[in-house]
Point group: C2
Chain length 281, copies 2
């Protein structure tokens, strides 16, 4: 999928919402826990009730990995289900992988070939050869961590590089942007740091940014849109817990739908404000 | 396991060798490929033929993850086998995980609780709350990436921090050392950068270092030992391909054994040179 194709999907739905499929079993209602594969059943219900408001889904792999091989299986079935029922969806594996080149190749194979995700999040610490094997997949996307949404972001990402006086995360963006292009590379830019989006837009005005941290983590959608939108949207804003665990009763999927529709409406308003409506010329 | 207990194991075997269980199916002999679970069969043979020369084994998770749920299953069986047959072994999951605190907790659970590893490698980019959930496991070890052995290490790890004039990897070590202690925290320090070991030893004279990159990647064991050994050894030196794929014939395990024993002898000599022989006082 190209960046323009992704933009078209955003225009079609008037939404740049990505929903994080990070299922927390302790918040599952009884009727889901009683099924053979609660995680899969939960995901199906969430996806079926929210897909019209979302352009992307993003399972965070930790939530599946922590369940052992059963979790792996739930994830495989979830991806297959979304591909079959909602083929327009952009699917992101939030895996934050990264290793020496020879090894990163295997991670890329796992997430692109085996699972068939459109995109994978990648940690930049190990540099170019750890990221390159992901970028080398035709038609797939690599999403490099730049500014994350957690408290720990301030530990290293905001160190100043002595040579350039740039923040460390800016060096990550500058270098990674030279490895990939607008059609295969995005950056993670936490919603909890909206003022940083302006700095990021100076470095990569045209790239898509994946923005986590709206919702439970406290980021503001309006601030993100004002600082991050570009002429082809250029944003995927993620919300996980605030949508999928909005309610813990047997009617959880209705609460999720309501929450997703509210966010989608805010997004449609932001797109309108920036003149990004209807079909592209 | 405490650092002193690990040191005792090293003295007992006169070896600080960690063997990377990174099985490459394209290098498996026929007799292994014909079994029901080739990865498990291969690992068993490698472990049985090399365990007397090694204190630790380190499966790199990418090699299993890329095989889907079958790979997961091979890994579970491998860990169980080592625990049962060779209970003295220190087991490292080379996973290079790291996410926001809430999510890192799940990764820690996956590798410590579910699989029962003694240690997990963790990427530092997301800062304290991404590392903390691993450190919080009593009796377990967190191994934070500092200097890696790949070419890409030079992209970010050697940036200079404007405020302190320290390398970025040194800031990682300095900060992480304040989060953990000698008994639950190690650092990855690539053998391809032996001169950096001296700098690292100034920051963390007492911590264990996990040193990859000896063997195929070109690092020198002698240089690593001279620059990195401390009074309680303080090193685990890893070799993967050079041992496990030393030979691709049906007698691969003998070649692996021979290779491991040669490295072990070099290590015993280095320990002797540094007065680290016999039982501790």
């Amino acid at each position: 999928m190209t960046a323009d194709e992704l933009f078209q999907k955003i225009l079609d739905k008037q939404s740049f919402l990505c929903i994080g499929l990070d299922p927390d079993l302790s918040k599952f209602p009884e009727k889901v826990l009683e099924t053979d594969d609660p995680v899969y059943e939960f995901n199906k219900k969430i996806v079926d009730s929210t897909h019209e408001f979302a352009v992307a889904y993003k399972p965070n792999i930790a939530f599946y990995e922590s369940l052992g091989s059963a979790g792996w299986w739930s994830l495989e079935k979830t991806v297959e289900y979304i591909r079959k029922r909602h083929p327009e969806i952009f699917l992101i594996a939030d895996a934050k992988r990264g290793d020496i080149g020879n090894t990163s190749k295997r991670y890329a194979r796992a997430w692109f070939d085996n699972f068939g995700f459109d995109a994978v999040t990648v940690a930049p610490y190990m540099g170019e050869d750890s990221v390159r094997p992901f970028l080398d997949y035709a038609g797939k996307w690599t999403i490099v961590l730049a500014v994350t949404s957690n408290d720990g972001a301030s530990d290293f990402q905001f160190m100043k590089d002595a040579e350039s006086d740039m923040y460390f995360f800016e060096k990550v963006i500058e270098k990674a942007a030279s490895w990939g292009k607008r059609d295969n590379l995005m950056f993670v830019a936490g919603a909890t740091q909206p003022e940083m989006l302006k700095r990021i837009r100076k470095l990569v005005p045209d790239h898509f940014l994946l923005v986590p941290g709206v919702g439970v983590q406290g980021g503001s959608l309006a601030a993100v849109a004002d600082n991050g939108l570009n002429g082809a949207c250029g944003l995927l804003v993620n919300s996980s817990r605030a949508i999928i665990h909005a309610d813990e009763s047997n009617e959880f999927e209705l609460a999720a739908r309501l929450k997703a529709s509210v966010i989608k409406n805010e997004m449609a308003a932001a797109l309108k404000k920036h003149g990004l409506t209807g079909r592209r010329a």
